[in-house]
């Protein structure tokens, strides 16, 4: 038996935009940890349907429990947190983002970068298709009895299209309950112009994100729209949207991708530039964070590039034309909330993925089904069948979890992916023959 050569820590390749984002995140977590000292208020809120621009307009610092959970997952901290949450009575089947978050809380609320995340002054709950969000904040409320809970009811897109009444319903809630609550807690009056300024910058940055996402239509694709994509959506989906830094980030990203387009180069993987684009895939569902790099490696080792993904739309479907509109500040927030991927019904999801398969000339599509996320996972097999029927492209199905490392079985997932890609190969050669 051959022994593998002694392991040397491999050099990890990162794009300039990734390094920039890393610094942005570090600064952000420092800002969060010092918010109290600086007399700022803190709001915990969720990524889908987040009202970051509005929070910034009140000088409130946003904290995203989902982001903390996934960052902790990537940093291999989530396993202990999950076990600690289970210890106090949360079942094995509960969303692992929730448990990772609670576990962090139970361990002194030390965030992913090692800095303490202060308690919230307000829990802003934009309900955008995930029922667990409500329960999550219900539990947090017990731990933070002083925090005020403000709920924004976002109508689910059960019929596929938002109606004017739905839009009006959200705007009214913003005006009548969300804004007054933030005025009360922050001590600042609502200034619509401040919000408009934020939204203007959001729209500018959104152009940059869409440029990045659409670049994957090229052959070879200069980006991986899933594994790389989760980095590209980072600033946009979280605490940076509407800030000048966010605009700068997307300028850097645009330049970097343009350079690769000019050089006819593929995506940058942690092991350097990707050699050959052999398969173009679409992915539905969030990635596994605890084995993120390992999961990615399974793809790039085989020459598989993800050219579009739905997970990169949970914080907004910018690629489908939505832009924050500074001329209609509250209306645009309503549109944004309703249009997040998590708030879409099954037929709309199928249509979107079908469009991706065609527009991005994909060879096939994969679904990563998350064990602890019923909201995302239910209906995925129906999506699979329907897409196969409509496009004739084969679908593959994986099972893992968000941040619970116990549900990532590397050998099995590798086996599935390899089998899937070999199946694509075979079908290709059959089509030629």
């Amino acid at each position: 038996m051959t022994t593998p050569p002694a392991a040397r820590p491999p050099e990890i390749h990162k794009e300039p935009s990734m390094l920039l984002q890393k610094n942005m995140l570090a600064d952000y977590f420092t800002r969060v940890s010092k918010a109290r000292e600086e007399g700022k208020k803190i709001a915990y809120t969720f990524v889908p349907g987040n009202l970051t621009e509005l929070l910034h307009a009140f000088d409130v610092v946003p904290v995203y429990p989902e982001i903390n959970a996934l960052q902790n997952g990537m940093r291999k901290r989530s396993a202990k947190f999950i076990l600690d949450a289970e210890k106090i009575g949360h079942s094995e089947d509960v969303c692992t983002y929730v448990k990772a978050d609670l576990g962090m809380l139970l361990n002194g609320n030390v965030g992913p970068t090692g800095e303490i995340i202060p308690e919230p002054d307000i829990l802003l709950l934009s309900y955008t298709g995930c029922f667990t969000f409500m329960k999550w904040f219900e539990i947090l409320k017990q731990h933070y009895p002083k925090a005020e809970v403000v709920m924004l009811q976002v109508p689910y897109q059960g019929e596929g299209t938002p109606t004017p009444a739905m839009r009006e319903y959200i705007v009214r809630q913003l005006r009548e309950s969300v804004i007054p609550a933030f005025e009360r807690i922050s001590g600042h009056r609502f200034e619509e112009d401040r919000l408009r300024e934020q939204l203007r910058r959001s729209a500018e940055a959104e152009e940059g994100l869409v440029f990045a996402l659409q670049s994957a239509r090229r052959r070879p694709s200069p980006i991986d729209a899933y594994f790389g994509g989760v980095y590209y959506i980072g600033p946009m989906f979280t605490a940076f949207r509407g800030t000048p830094e966010c605009v700068d980030y997307y300028d850097t990203l645009r330049e970097e991708i343009q350079n690769r387009i000019d050089a006819h180069a593929g995506p940058i993987t942690p092991e350097g530039p990707m050699a050959e684009e052999k398969y173009r895939l679409i992915v539905e569902g969030p990635p596994n964070w605890t084995h993120f790099r390992e999961f990615w490696k399974l793809f790039y080792d085989e020459g598989a590039v993800v050219v579009a993904s739905t997970y990169t739309k949970v914080g907004g479907l910018y690629d489908q034309g939505f832009r924050h509109n500074p001329d209609d500040p509250l209306g645009t927030l309503a549109d944004y909330c309703m249009g997040c991927y998590t708030n879409l019904n099954l037929p709309t999801r199928v249509e979107l993925i079908e469009k991706y398969i065609r527009d991005f000339e994909a060879d096939g599509f994969l679904i990563n089904s998350i064990k602890s996320c019923n909201s995302f996972s239910s209906g995925q097999l129906l999506i699979l069948r329907e897409l196969e029927r409509r496009t004739g492209k084969p679908g593959g199905f994986f099972e893992s979890d968000l941040v619970d490392p116990r549900y990532f079985s590397a050998a099995n997932i590798k086996n599935r992916l390899e089998s899937y890609l070999q199946m694509l190969d075979q079908r290709r050669s059959q089509a030629v023959a």
């Binding site: 064990k371 084969p394 893992s400 079985s409 099995n412 086996n415 070999q422 199946m423 075979q426 059959q430």
Partner: protein, 439 residues
């Protein structure tokens, strides 16, 4: 054109298939060596080649006017003797290994009694083998480790009672030595072994001189056939560690699909229940996989489930199915979690349920899990082919037949006697047709 070889590295066994230029199976090899995949591959390959020589021998005997009248008993006897020669060779190797282990410094106080005891023990294993291999129906499903292991243990118990050597010490020596033995390829060529077998057969059989001469000739001819392997493909878990090129490695999903198509060209849905995973595969009219599902978050309901139950009941794996078929009042068991099923088994036994009734329920539970995987992969389309080690289990087959009928109506369910080789057949086909260019 020469032969192609397909190797399927399983969690329980490693399988090898040798196909001739016309895609006809000429050799099958099966080994339970699994601690080292390279050795397992080499062992399975050499077994397949030996089996191929027997295939040629059978053809030669059948077409020999002097021998064809006695073909069946003659070949059977020859094969038994051949395996005896092989077996004794391994017994001797194991004996040497045990003696080597026994010569360790720390065991010096036990010498020379230990050597005497070991020699006596192996002499008896030797004698017993000569007797058991001469019977007409040798159980080929048993591996060297199984046969020798149980004999060694029984004899070691006797020896430890009669001598002052502790049983633990004797078993420890065996455990160490069998691992070494299993991780070696047999250093005995087909020609050497068959010649010894022919001599022994010639003495025992009532063959005329003319027939004996004819036998030597056909054996010589069969043994002289070279088995040039043009290409090989490996599949199964651990395939990445094989010393194969990347293009010589195929996923077992594809291999099972193609293998099932080889045995039954009408196949559209394949269910494979192996030791550590269950696969539901849909194939097109060419045997090309169009979609598949397998378990990857939890391995409940795999072949290992039955292995565990067999251990719990102190039964051989092959005894489970026939016993479950005798169920009179089947028990409903729904848990497919292996460990829970074990707990339920003990609970039911303590409540007085009959072993066969519980076993029936356990077989149904494992098939229920497979049904859910099949549904996920797109259901069952006629014809339906069942493969993998569990396809050999009659109770699993009965449960599957019933549940398919209930859920999908009547359809043709195929199970091939060589179903355990399905993946290896697919691999061997890929080995041939990758060269030809279809894959």
């Amino acid at each position: 054109m020469g032969y192609t070889l397909g190797i399927d590295l399983g969690s329980t066994t490693t399988k090898a298939i040798l196909l001739d230029a016309n895609d006809r199976i000429v050799g099958r090899g099966l080994t339970n060596t699994r601690s080292n995949y390279e050795v397992a591959t080499a062992v399975a390959e050499s077994e397949a080649k030996i089996n191929a020589h027997f295939t040629f021998l059978k053809e030669a005997v059948d077409s020999s006017p002097k021998l064809s009248s006695q073909a069946a008993p003659l070949l059977n006897n020859l094969e038994n003797r051949f395996h005896l020669v092989q077996h004794l060779h391994r017994v001797n190797r194991l004996r040497r290994q045990c003696l080597f282990e026994a010569a360790a410094d720390r065991l010096l106080p036990h010498q020379p009694r230990l050597t005497t005891v070991l020699n006596a023990l192996f002499d008896q294993i030797h004698e017993r083998a000569e007797r058991s291999f001469s019977t007409a129906d040798v159980d080929r499903s048993r591996f060297f480790r199984d046969i020798v292991g149980s004999e060694y243990m029984a004899l070691a118990e006797e020896q430890s009672r009669e001598s002052s050597i502790a049983l633990d010490l004797l078993m420890g020596l065996y455990d160490k030595s069998i691992l070494v033995e299993e991780n070696q390829v047999l250093d005995l060529s087909f020609v050497e072994a068959i010649q010894q077998a022919v001599e022994a057969a010639g003495e025992s059989e009532t063959l005329t001189r003319v027939q004996q001469k004819a036998l030597r000739e056909v054996v010589e001819e069969a043994a002289s056939q070279t088995l040039e392997v043009d290409n090989m493909v490996g599949t199964g878990y651990g395939r990445q560690r094989l010393p194969f090129r990347k293009d010589q490695i195929r996923s077992e999903i594809l291999c099972h699909g193609l293998g099932a198509h080889y045995f039954f060209p009408g196949t559209r849905t394949v269910l494979d229940i192996g030791g550590q995973d269950t696969k539901a595969i849909q194939v097109d009219s060419q045997g090309i996989v169009t979609s598949f599902q397998m378990n990857d978050r939890c391995a409940a309901g795999c072949g290992r489930y039955l292995g565990y139950i067999a251990d719990e009941l102190n039964l051989g794996l092959h005894q489970l199915g026939p016993l479950a078929l005798q169920a009179k009042r089947p028990v409903r068991i729904t848990s497919t979690c292996t460990v829970f099923a074990g707990a339920e088994l003990r609970e039911r036994l303590s409540m007085g349920d009959a072993r066969e009734d519980i076993l029936d329920g356990l077989h149904r539970a494992i098939i229920l899990r497979a049904m859910s995987l099949l549904a996920r992969s797109g259901g069952i389309t006629d014809e339906f082919t069942f493969t993998g080690g569990v396809a050999k289990n009659p109770a699993a087959v009965r449960a599957l037949t019933r549940l398919v009928e209930e859920n999908y109506g009547t359809m043709k369910i195929n199970i091939h006697p060589d179903s355990i080789f399905t993946g290896a057949v697919g691999a061997a086909l890929y080995a041939r047709h990758t060269q030809g260019g279809i894959a």
